[in-house]
Amino acid sequence: MSSTPLKQSAITSYPRFIGRALWLATEGSFAFYAWMTALTAVSLVGANAWANQVAGGMITTNMTDHVSWGLYIANFTFCVGLAAGGVMMVIPAYLYDDEEMHKVVIIGEAVAIAAIVMCTLSVVVDLGRPDRFWHLIPGIGKFNWPISMLTWDVIVLNGYLMINLHVVGYLLYMRYLGRKPNGWWYLPFVFLSIFWAISIHTVTAFLYCGLGGRPFWNSALLAPRFLASAFVSGPAFIILVMRILRVTTGYTAPLGPARTLIQIIRVAMTINLLMLVSEIFTVLYTGSAHAAPLNYLFFGDHGKTGLVPWIWTAIGMNLIGTALFFTPAALERSQIRVLACLLVIVGIWIEKGMGLIIPGFIPSTLHEIVEYSPSLLEWKVVAGIWGLGLIILTLSLKLIVNVFTSRMHVEENQISESLNH
């Protein structure tokens, strides 16, 4: 067969595939609809809070000229890690040609897509002038590339989204058609996405560590620590998602991938904790300029202790979670696994979010100590972002499950039909 009719069929049947996918992804049980309704409600609360913020000015947040980034940028940082970590699963799957991992990889990529959307939203809600968003668009705005690290971030995050949409879309489409995926169409992108996953995290770390005036961030360890924690939060999130899928849809992957994921978490978390210890030692033992923010973070400064409960909670969760991952029970008992995942996810959310962004501003560059804790409005907005992210994740997971369990694939007559057009 020549390639022309095949192309025609793709042109007509890919949109049909997307249409049917969307239709089926919104089918489900009562529990599914309840879940989606709840998420929608949370998103709407967030949207409303954000609209109020735009209308009333950002005075409605608790940020100040001293702590000029807060919960939004903290959440952004965590979501970048989640996005990168999701795709890290690709490495064992393709480098070692681990067939079983493929079922997990596609979940990882779905997580990545949802996480990138959350990243973008977290930045947009942080803008004082979202109406001027177009100034950021290369060509019609003024894009300060390559000088500003933020423009790099815009590029790598959007690129990453595109790559993942392509890989997921292509793999599912081929499954749907019942054809074997053609390596040339997706393997180069898979490898690209590996490098890209590392780059989104590195570039995001560079956003902070490139600022000489902020000693807390201005550390060469920042980017590697980012990566290590992404290798924890990403796999942990995927284990959770797999568990939920298993209970709700019966979509299972063999035990092998779960073991691989846990191995990754064990190693990455140990490295992460090691680097944390090394950083704390260097700073506190020499008592350099870095010491003040770390002191504030861990012990409080001049009686101001706003972040102390946060960071010790995070450290406690990370340590317990890691210890659980090292027990054999983590491999055998799913409750232990789920608990350990929850602990490290929340732990890293605090550590990479509130524990990383806020101390960059306390003390301020003139050594004033002005504390920050998020306002209710900020919490609502972040909850809304997670609501929307989970809606996207749920729908794409449903789609994946539908295709993989062959609940949705093309029928013969449809292909010939589109071939005849």
Binding site: S29, F32, D65, D131, I147, L150
Partner: protein, 321 residues
Amino acid sequence: MTNIEPNQSADSQASTHGDSPGTDPFTRRAAIKGAFATLGAAAFVAAVSPLRQAAKNTSAVEFMQQHYTELSPEQKATVIARLEAETKEKYGADVTIADDRPIPGTKFVYAINLSVCNGNGKCVEACHRENNHDRSTNQSYIRVIEMPKGTMDMEKGSTTYAGVVPREDKFYLPVQCQQCDEPPCVDVCPVKATWKEEDGIVVVDYNWCIGCRYCEAACPYHARRFNWKQAEVPADEINPDQSYLSNRVRPVGVVEKCTYCLHRTRRGRLPACLEACPTGARVFGNILDKNSNIRWILENKRVYILKEELGTKPAFFYYFD
């Protein structure tokens, strides 16, 4: 979650009848989904309705406005006329907004004599009034740090000192934008809304800034301020003598900073903070002018700059007698 056997029947029906929407379960579901989607969309519109209020404050012309450096003289005139009218409308004040450009052959530099400064804070107040800062937050571009004698470590200082000044064992360190020659704030801006002009002054186009506050995080001298709310200034207190790149009333949601009072200095006057200083600690001038006072000080005094190790190359100097 109990749904181990998820809607096998509905799904398989949908997939077998996928392309023949005439069957009953399909249309019923389509109707339900349609209803849900409509409901969701309506709820969304209601949720974001406060945006309509915000949209009223931004006209279409303002939305479309180009970057300052790309405006033709005619466009600039139109923009300025619009801004003046807006100030009249919102603040009830008649103001003139000029477009002061750098004077060729000028590089402005500031110096403060720390032996003389006594921490009275008159410069802070003068800045507040001169630059039409928000009254309720008492905003100013200048902060004065009270430092114990015998250290240069800002960690030991305090910006919240009160009472009679100067205190015996203290000295006073006023800090404002250092108009760095290697300004990190300019490098990080993703949309080039802030830049350094030929006379050394770092400015912000308040109508181009997207309010990401990356520059605020990057500045090592706490020199930048964000407009968390629209500034409140009574009509009779508004300084009507304004410039596009400096002290005009700023829009909400953008970043601003000290401009060495370019609406004064580019017209041959001195900065407001200098004129307000009762001790004569402040010296301002054109470093390229060989006969200037500032040149003499930089050549003959032991001068230092803040946070030299960061490589920002400030155009702002401190010295002791």
